[in-house]
């Protein structure tokens, strides 16, 4: 299934040609569909994303991909993988730009994601052939393809001096739109994105800003099937008992660890453990990095 598109091929993505140093050849896996390149958004972010980054990447990407925009990312673990995954779950299509030959699944434990991207009419592309191994220098080179393929780039979480910032700088150089997600001043992984916002990148507080720049609106469908954490104790939670209700209220303000929850509700760790287990089984909560979140 390995195929190649050369720079003089009419199928070659037009936006990528505008780049200063476009790749001569693009190797790809999957069915080349030029529609895929019409409206692309590149999503980048830290490999060591925080649970906040994961939550936001999930929410934004699923709404954006749900509206029909192709999500381009780098197949790394962290924000990249979350973006691909969220796009697939929203029924969207996604392109993974590899830092190595397209035959290499890197990182190899993401094999199922690799297959899912292809199964959902997505693409795996790279300027490197076959089993070309990833190297330190291939990552920044690859980033110019990511920035070049899309009209806009969205940075979810990035530390200072991170690879995500390289992609962001390239997007600026190519005169593409740059979006950045704000985050707490205390988080190392928001330093990069905050810096970008300060320097003039558009701050994203919902998928709307991104979609507007593509002249699109959030489809009602995607809104209804993915509910964000925002909103009061809705009817969804009305069957819960008093303790469970107050847990939901606390968690909607801020995700918390069991110990903090037990202190703030003045309930023993034993009772709190019981409540949290049952709520998790009911599918009302989920746990990540030791903290509980409302689903």
């Amino acid at each position: 299934m390995e195929s190649v598109v050369k720079i003089n091929d009419p199928k070659y993505p037009a936006l990528l040609k505008e780049v200063k140093d476009p790749p001569e050849k693009l190797y790809y896996k999957g069915d080349w569909d030029s529609v895929l390149f019409e409206k692309c958004l590149t999503v980048v972010g830290s490999r060591r994303m925080t649970s906040y980054g994961k939550q936001i990447a999930n929410k934004l990407v699923s709404e954006i991909a749900g509206a029909g925009i192709t999500i381009v990312s780098g197949f790394m673990y962290g924000i990249d993988a979350t973006a691909h995954q969220a796009a697939l779950e929203a029924g969207g299509r996604t392109i993974a730009v590899m830092p190595c030959g397209i035959e290499i699944i890197h990182p190899e434990y993401q094999e199922s994601l690799y297959k899912k991207i292809l199964a959902n009419r997505g693409l795996i592309i790279s300027e490197y052939e076959g089993t070309f191994p990833p190297a330190l220098w291939t990552y920044p080179r690859r980033n110019r393809i990511m920035a070049g393929l899309s009209m806009a780039t969205l940075v979810v979480e990035a530390g200072l001096k991170s690879g995500s910032l390289i992609t962001a700088e390239l997007a600026k150089k190519f005169k593409r739109k740059l979006f950045a997600v704000p985050g707490p001043l205390t988080s190392t992984f928001s330093q990069g994105t905050l810096q970008l916002i300060k320097e003039g990148a558009e701050m994203v507080i919902s998928a709307r800003e991104v979609l507007q720049s593509y002249g699109l609106k959030i489809s009602k469908l995607t809104l209804s099937h993915r509910v964000g954490g925002i909103g009061s104790v809705s009817t969804r939670f009305s069957t819960l008992n008093k303790l469970e209700q107050s847990i939901i209220e606390k968690l909607q303000q801020e995700p918390m660890e069991i110990d903090a929850l037990s202190r703030s509700t003045e309930v023993s760790a034993s009772q709190m453990g019981t409540a949290l287990s049952l709520m998790q089984l009911k599918g009302v909560l989920f746990k990540e990095e030791g903290k509980y979140y409302v689903k």
Partner: protein, 512 residues
């Protein structure tokens, strides 16, 4: 002229009778020989015996002395043959008759006094078992032996004193058992549970661990308080029951860890070996097999800090003793069995740098590094750990800022009362099973003693599918739920107990 003195030798926790035969030959040049496979320590006994006798101002016979340690084909170790050999010689030269049905045991100093000798308790137990009436042991070792009723334990101070007693010149009363250091009913532990700020769930896990003898795995960043918590555990454990206390003291006596004048151990041992320990150090070993940390932690706590830093081979060696509660050390010439029923408290960092999910510091590890780090502990080991708990970093400032959070929490003695009650319920339950705690239950016993109502089982089954629990974890959750119910004095395992138990399920995945 021939005399025969009886003694006994300890190998591991086993004791075998040894006959010490001493012959003073009428012919031949003066000499002193020991036969019967003596080790270096036994062979050197000659010099100690000779000098001790001379320094006790008793004439040492200038004749050919032959000592035979029988059975002659068993290698002899240790210094306790000094006293029987000396008594063999003296009974011949001083014409004193040795009492019937007696064992002699002890190491001599050059001045003729007796030194503290390891294994006196085992000797007393052996004497009782064989119906031997008297044992003569060094005075510093007499107390630990005197716990055994029905055997006269004579505390011997010096050769002169013993000789005078045997010749009927002075009286010597058998030692009376006295409780000394280490036997108080409650020893102040290093930390009280109430001193630990926050960590409500981890503290609860400690209570469950103590309540049912469950192994516990704590994962948390440096400074989260894992070590402090482990060290507070002895404070909520019940004292050793009489039978348990003897089991523990036997191990400590056999390895020479009972101090002079020491009595039996009543407090549960707490062992915390460093991660550079060898497999033999942990499990036990040596040509003359010695108990390792697992046996020294018998009926107590084995705390392995930085669990992932232990060499894999060392950790794997834990499997059998954890499963069976005892182990046999086999060497080419000797083998010895030791008990090893302990609570394992393991603690580890979440990643190599230690700061994964830390609220204030960035983790520098790649996902691959983290997975590699976690894989250092094998599945079979993790499978033998019932309780898994995360220990988050506590913001101490938060507690000093909001005095309301500093409400007095439960003190260790209060928690201990619940633990004691739960353990009483368990010993009654397992009276016919030969086990003590819920953690020791095998699947068959789980089925027998932990019947689940339909609703409770539904919760567990739902958890199996949504938390992807293994079959082994399924049974572990039931055991933990059983202990939680016992702590609350419930006969039935309710949904609440089961749901709480699920909190302590294994957290295998990095994301979990």
């Amino acid at each position: 002229m021939l005399s025969k003195v009886t003694s006994a030798s300890n190998l591991g926790l086993e004791t075998i009778p040894i006959d010490v035969e001493v012959n003073l030959a009428d012919r031949g040049l003066p000499a002193f020989e020991i036969v019967g496979l003596p080790s270096k320590a036994v062979d050197e006994s000659k010099e100690r015996v000779k000098t001790a006798i001379v320094n006790s101002r008793i004439r040492f016979p200038t004749r050919r002395i032959t000592v035979n340690l029988a059975p002659a084909d068993v290698p002899k170790e240790g210094s306790f043959y000094d006293l029987p050999i000396a008594m063999g010689i003296l009974s011949l030269t001083m014409q004193c008759k040795l009492p019937e049905s007696s064992l002699f045991f002890g190491e001599l100093s050059l001045e003729g006094t007796l030194r503290h000798t390891r294994g006196a308790l085992l000797l007393a137990l052996f004497a009782k078992e064989k119906g031997i009436k008297n044992i003569f042991v060094p005075k510093p070792s007499a107390n630990e032996a005197a716990i055994i009723k029905g055997v006269n334990v004579y505390p011997v101070e010096s050769l002169n004193q013993l000789l005078a007693y045997l010749l009927g010149e002075i009286p010597l009363a058998p030692a009376q058992y006295q409780e000394t250091k280490g036997t108080q009913t409650y020893i102040e532990p290093e930390f009280d549970m109430a001193e630990i700020l926050g960590q409500e769930q981890a503290k609860r896990a400690m209570e469950i661990s103590a309540g049912g003898g469950h192994n516990l795995f704590m994962i948390g960043s440096p400074g989260a308080g894992k070590t402090m918590m482990a060290r507070a555990l002895p404070g909520i454990l019940p004292l050793l029951a009489e039978k348990e206390s003897l089991e523990v003291t036997k191990v400590y006596s056999a390895s020479g860890r009972i101090p002079p004048q020491g009595s039996v151990i009543k407090i549960r041992p707490f062992r915390a070996p460093h991660h550079t320990i060898s497999a033999a150090g942990l499990i036990g070993g040596g040509t003359n097999p010695q108990p390792g940390e697992v046996s020294l932690a018998h009926r107590g706590v084995l705390f392995l800090d930085e669990f992932n830093e232990f060499p894999r081979s060392v950790l794997e060696a834990l499997r059998q003793p954890m499963e069976d509660g005892h182990l046999t050390i086999s060497r080419s010439r000797k083998r010895a069995s030791f008990p090893s029923r302990f609570i394992l408290i393991a603690s580890a960092n979440p990643c190599p740098c230690g700061y994964l999910h830390h609220p204030a510091r960035a983790c520098l590890c790649s996902r691959r590094e983290i997975e590699k780090y976690r894989k250092r502990v094998s599945g079979p080991i993790l499978d033998r750990i019932d309780l898994h708990v995360e220990v988050p970093v506590v913001d101490v400032k938060e507690f000093s800022r909001e005095p309301g959070l500093k409400k007095p929490t439960e003190l260790s003695p209060q928690i201990r009362l619940r633990v004691i009650k739960a353990r009483e319920i368990q010993s009654e339950r397992f009276i016919e099973e030969g086990i003590h705690t819920n953690a020791e239950m095998k699947n068959k016993q789980i089925k027998k003693y932990c019947s689940l109502s339909k609703e409770t089982k539904q919760v567990l089954l739902a958890a199996v599918s949504s938390f992807k629990l293994s079959a082994r974890s399924y049974f572990k959750m039931i055991k933990v739920a059983r202990t939680i119910a016992d702590l609350e004095g419930y006969q039935e395992i309710t949904i609440a107990h089961m749901a709480e138990a699920l909190q302590y399920r294994p957290k295998i995945h990095v994301e979990d």
